[in-house]
């Protein structure tokens, strides 16, 4: 728990108690299917899969209904892992071969310490809601105190406005507690074995420094007043962090995520993905828009391409190419010198992510499950 003043703590507790009481109301006694273990599926690789990653030599993919699948033969055969939730999982990252995290809807954060075979729930939307409420109330309390102390008329107006916003956020947060664990995390990134970020809908940004023993809300250093969704987070070799999201959000952090600088006026549409390849970083998204910067300068510019379909995810390939995948089964690779190659998978199913196995094979995941890039037709 974050340190906070007593003043902020008391109403927080009251609301939590209230929330617990409302949970006990008859209308809410219905079963929560989200927190039932994932069902065993005959051919889990044909389920809708949303992200795929390497855990050492092993491949791990996550998707709908809490399905997590593993392959130890570079993608030829798959088996299903044991997962304690049945909500849709959206992203997976293994900073070390044995230790990895998967995140998803209902604010679920899962951890595996055995390379993906078994998973435990570290965090979910109920805790996320509580932390967000506490954050909003603490902010409102500190603004109130500041307002009481302030005498500068000009500052007063701005403070009042900020207080209104904070109070509005607190109301929102109280509502969210009534609603229950809802909003999804959309990406997860660990910068080392213990430190990581989980980001998602409505500006959710949580971090841990102790391998997920506790996850803390970390939105003090980022400006996102309209609570747009965060879609992707990535790190370059120098330790710089990139965060992209809805409505053209793009941030850069040079202090390991404590503060985030917004890249302004780049684009209005969503940026669903980020790929770092050597000195280059790509942000891409809606209707095939791709933006490129050098990690040194962080000067962003549109990378023109003639593809008009949305790109939802991607991966850096071993040869340095950035592979982006998206709607209608499209895959697009950009080499280091900027040449492009495109494929379309015959299923035309929307793709969400990709990975390169240790043997070089490239696998795509999306609405129709797992597919090989080799099956796709070159365009």
């Amino acid at each position: 728990m974050m340190a906070r003043s007593n003043a902020a703590c008391r109403p927080f507790l009251a609301v939590v108690l209230l929330a617990l009481l409302t949970f006990a109301q008859p209308g809410s006694t219905a079963e929560d299917f989200v927190f039932l273990p994932a069902l065993r599926v005959d051919e889990p690789e044909q389920m809708q899969l949303l992200d795929i990653a390497r855990a050492g030599e092993r491949l791990v993919a996550v998707g709908e209904r809490g399905v997590i699948i593993l392959s130890d033969d570079h993608g030829r055969s798959w088996r299903q892992a044991e997962v304690p939730v049945s909500t849709t999982l959206t992203a997976v990252h293994f900073p070390e071969p044995d230790s990895g995290w998967a995140v998803g809807h209902a604010g679920a954060i899962l951890h595996s310490a055995d390379g993906g075979d078994t998973w435990e729930l570290q965090f979910d939307g109920r805790e996320a809601n509580r932390q967000y409420l506490a954050w909003a109330q603490a902010r409102a309390a500190s603004l109130e105190a500041e307002l009481a102390a302030s005498e500068d008329a000009e500052q007063l107006g701005a403070l009042e406005e900020a207080l209104d916003e904070a109070q509005f956020a607190a109301e929102d947060a109280a509502d969210a507690i009534d609603t229950g664990p809802a909003d999804p995390f959309l990406d997860v990134l660990f910068t080392d074995a213990k430190s990581g970020f989980a980001i998602g809908a409505y500006g959710m940004l949580y971090r841990t420094d102790n391998g997920g023993d506790d996850w803390r809300i970390a939105i003090d250093g980022i400006a996102n007043p309209y609570r747009y969704h965060y879609y992707a987070i990535a790190q370059d070799s120098a330790g710089g962090l990139y965060l992209s999201g809805e409505a053209g959000l793009l941030y850069h952090s040079e202090d390991a995520g404590s503060t985030w600088r917004r890249v302004e006026d780049l684009y209005d549409g969503s940026l669903f993905g980020l790929i770092v390849s050597g000195e280059r970083v790509y942000a891409y998204g809606l209707r095939g828009h791709i933006f490129k910067a050098s990690t040194a300068s962080a000067d962003w510019a549109e990378f023109t391409n003639n593809n008009g379909t949305s790109l939802y995810g991607g991966v850096r390939l071993a040869d340095g190419q950035a592979l982006m995948v998206g709607a209608g089964g499209l895959a697009l690779a950009i080499s280091e010198n900027g040449t492009q190659q495109a494929w379309r998978h015959p299923s035309r199913a929307s793709l969400s992510s990709a990975v390169q196995a240790a043997n070089g094979d490239v696998w795509l995941v999306g609405m129709s499950g797992l597919m090989a890039l080799s099956e796709a037709n070159s365009l």
Binding site: G27, F33, R40
Partner: protein, 784 residues
């Protein structure tokens, strides 16, 4: 033994029958006139019979699943009742000027077919087929046919792009882009006239206005859908008239070969036909239609009528041969045969009537109609036929044929009677034991329900099923649909509690073998939320947030929830409708419901063609044994009453059991499942089959009583009734055998099974019965 036929009345003939016979002969002219008037009346009624194919009558209406379905029927109506017209390009793909022009014309044509719900029609050329795309500014979209479409290469390219963005591939556009569908939902009740849709006419309209008009070397037209299926069934059923004529013709030839007398043949055919006319007229009077299912009954009535007529003309011929005057001969025939005839018909009728124990209306109707037909036969064949014979008499050729026959030495019967001796009897018994073993073994593979893909009512290679197969092969759809009704409190079908439960339920059902996919309101919600978030696949999930959830359901089609938002159908698409698949689904749903049902959440079985079939299978599985107990109980009771001997009863019943066992094995071997159509077959087979045993053993018994040895007695029994039994077996087999060629699968299945049962029962009575009699009499002697 016909020479021993007494021409004078004896005590055995009783008093009532001679009295009746005298009265009858005295009033023969008015009686025949009365029959003629009645026949005209029933004929007039019969001519008004309409072909009718009601699926509801084939449902086990008392089964809880069906009760659920019937209760919700109106709310589920929108789910299925539409026709799909598939327009396939024979040359190249659908993106050509010619194809699109034809498609537009056909769409316009379908628009004007009476019965089509015009507002809900869909094809590439209707304005409700749209493409959509997410842009920085939000959703943009339009009709798939470009506004400036002129058939040029440029607009065709644009059309192709729009189709790709429309999400209709696999739905109304084939996966291979070689065909598209015109979906025409139907209006059950015409809003202008208030009349129900006439499926036969609708189906005919589609043929003339669409298929015949537009099918060419450029495009082929395929039509599927419930209405078309019914139409094809009614069309197929009309062929039954032809089958009747064929059966009539073959029977006439056989009758003539048997009697060698045009007059006797004509009289027997006339009376049996009169019975059919009456029976059909009564059908109309009882308010029933000409159902493809109970169409079997006129054939049975005719065949049973002919076989009883054979007894009568045979006896009449004998009496004439003994130089009795016609009227006296007819009267004595009536006196002698009305009692056994009545008993035999009664046993047939009671046998049929046991089918009433099965809770499936169409089977109960069959039982009623068949029992009525048998009752009619009592009047037409026992009463009318002797009267007719007094007028027709018998030709002299027939008499001379009879003399010849009497003087022959009956070599074939002599040989056959050998089975009543030790050696042949043992071989027959050994063969029958092996057949029992084989039958029981293969009978284990007998399946419940329908086994072929497509519409099980029609043959797998029928045009309808070919069209259906084309649809399932080229589109992402299955035609085996199992619907589970998920219900909650009023106005709660959009609550997260309900939606998440249905979502989880779908997940569970998708793990059940044979379930391809599940679809409900939940999928609409997931897709809408994904759409609201710019199509990102990561958002393809429902939401606990009630604003988002409500918003996501605002555009849900009304077919996916009822009007007061208390029920949402969950549609399961299955690989097939085999019983094992359906059992697995039923079991999974039941388990889930047991675990999760609560006051505000219920999962109820079942609707959809596969759901209905699952319920039917359950009823049939339970009914099969029940029916066998009843029918065997009845025939055993009749045998015991008639013969007052367990031994004789065993001799008659065991061959029937062998037929039943072999019948089940045959069904397994031919891939015919136990279903509504084949379930009554065994009862019909046993009910009619018992007659042969009774005839043969009665004759055998009377000769044994005279102190003859078994073989000699059996030879004499064969001589007097063997021909009649063989003839009866063949007539019945022919009567139902023509059905094998019916385009309606279940009629064909009934035809195969009944033909087999009638024929094999006859063989059993002629061969197996005497061998059993030998065994039981010799063991009796041994024990004495």
């Amino acid at each position: 033994m016909t020479k021993h036929e007494s021409t004078t009345l004896s005590a055995e003939d009783g008093r009532l029958r001679p009295l009746l016979g005298t009265l009858m002969m005295r009033a023969r002219v008015p009686l025949i006139a009365l029959f003629a008037i009645a026949t005209l009346f029933f004929g007039w009624q019969a001519s008004q019979l309409k072909p009718d194919a009601s699926f509801e009558k084939m449902l086990p209406t008392l089964h809880p699943y069906i009760l659920n379905f019937l209760e919700r029927q109106d709310e589920l109506k929108g789910l299925g009742n539409s026709v799909r017209i598939i327009v396939e390009s024979r040359q190249g793909d659908i993106f050509t000027k010619e194809y699109q022009q034809l498609l537009q014309e056909i769409t316009d044509e379908v628009f004007y077919v009476n019965g089509v719900d015009r507002s809900a029609m869909q094809s590439l050329w209707t304005p409700n087929t749209r493409w959509m795309e997410v842009t920085e500014e939000g959703f943009v979209g339009g009709a798939v046919i470009p506004d400036d479409y002129d058939g040029s290469e440029r607009t065709l390219v644009k059309l192709r792009e729009n189709v790709l963005k429309s999400g209709q591939i696999g739905r109304i556009v084939a996966n291979d882009f070689k065909s598209t569908i015109i979906v025409a939902p139907l209006v059950e009740i015409d809003p202008n006239t208030g009349e129900r849709l006439d499926y036969a006419k609708f189906s005919q309209d589609l043929e003339t206005m669409v298929r015949n008009k537009y099918q060419s070397e450029k495009v082929s037209i395929r039509i599927t859908g419930f209405a078309k299926l019914i139409g094809d069934l009614i069309d197929g059923a009309t062929l039954v008239g032809l089958f009747f004529l064929v059966a009539f013709g073959i029977t006439a030839v056989m009758l003539f070969l048997y009697s060698r007398c045009v007059w006797l043949t004509g009289a027997a055919l006339l009376c049996s036909t009169v019975a059919v006319v009456w029976q059909m007229g009564l059908l109309k009077l009882m308010g029933l239609g000409l159902d493809p299912y109970s169409m079997l009954v006129p054939f049975l009535v005719f065949a049973v009528g002919v076989s009883h007529s054979v007894q009568i003309i045979n006896r009449f011929g004998t009496l004439i041969y003994l130089e009795m005057p016609r009227i006296e001969a007819a009267k004595l025939t009536f006196i002698r045969l009305s009692k056994p005839g009545f008993v035999a018909l009664l046993s047939d009728g009671v046998g049929f009537f046991t089918l009433r124990v099965i809770d499936i209306p169409v089977i109960q109707e069959l039982a009623l109609v068949a029992a009525t037909g048998i009752a009619v036969l009592v009047l037409t064949n026992l009463l009318l036929l002797p009267l007719v014979l007094t007028f027709t008499g018998i030709s002299s050729r027939c008499v001379s044929y009879r003399v010849e026959k009497e003087n022959s030495n009956f070599r074939h019967w002599r040989i056959l009677s050998g089975v009543a001796q030790r050696g042949p009897a043992l071989s027959v018994l050994a063969v029958c034991t092996v057949l029992f073993a084989v039958g029981i073994y293969f009978g284990k593979f007998q399946k419940i329900g329908d086994l072929d893909p497509g519409a099980p009512e029609l043959r797998p290679d029928s045009r309808y099923n070919q069209d259906n197969a084309f649809l399932t092969n080229n589109y992402s759809t299955s035609t085996d649909v199992f619907v589970v009704m998920a219900s909650t409190d009023v106005q709660q079908c959009g609550s997260y509690e309900f939606i998440s439960a249905v979502n989880y339920f779908q997940g569970v059902m998708e793990t059940v073998p044979g379930v391809q996919s599940a679809m409900s309101l939940v999928d609409v919600s997931k897709l809408a939320i994904q759409g609201m978030n710019e199509g990102s696949p990561k958002w393809h999930e429902t939401s606990r947030n009630r604003y988002i959830l409500n918003n996501s359901l605002s555009s849900a089609p009304s077919t996916l929830r009822n009007t007061d938002c208390s029920m949402a159908p969950v549609i399961l698409f299955l690989d097939d409708h085999k019983a094992d698949t359906l059992d697995g689904v039923v079991q999974a749903v039941t388990e889930f419901a047991e675990q999760h049902n609560s006051d505000s959440l219920q999962f109820d079985l079942a609707a959809g063609n596969a759901g209905v079939e699952a319920a039917t299978n359950i009823v049939i599985r339970n009914a099969q044994n029940k029916m066998l107990w009843w029918v065997y109980g009845v025939v055993i009771a009749l045998c015991l009453i008639n013969f007052r001997s367990l031994r004789i009863t065993a001799c008659i019943i065991i061959p029937l059991v062998l037929t039943s066992v072999l019948g089940q094995a045959l069904m397994a071997a031919l891939g015919i499942g136990v279903k509504v159509a084949t379930l009554p077959v065994i009862a019909l087979g046993v009910g009619i089959g018992v007659d042969y045993g009774i005839y043969i053993y009665s004759a055998l018994q009377s000769h044994l009583a005279k102190g003859e040895g078994l073989q000699e007695a059996y030879f004499h029994a064969l001589k007097s009734s063997g021909t009649a039994v063989a003839f009866t077996g063949l007539t019945l087999a022919v009567g139902v055998g023509t059905w094998i060629f019916s385009p309606i699968k279940f009629q064909a299945d009934m035809g195969i099974m009944l033909t087999f049962m009638f024929f094999w029962n006859m063989i059993g009575a002629l061969l197996f019965l005497p061998a059993l009699a030998w065994l039981l009499t010799s063991s009796k002697k041994a024990s004495d």
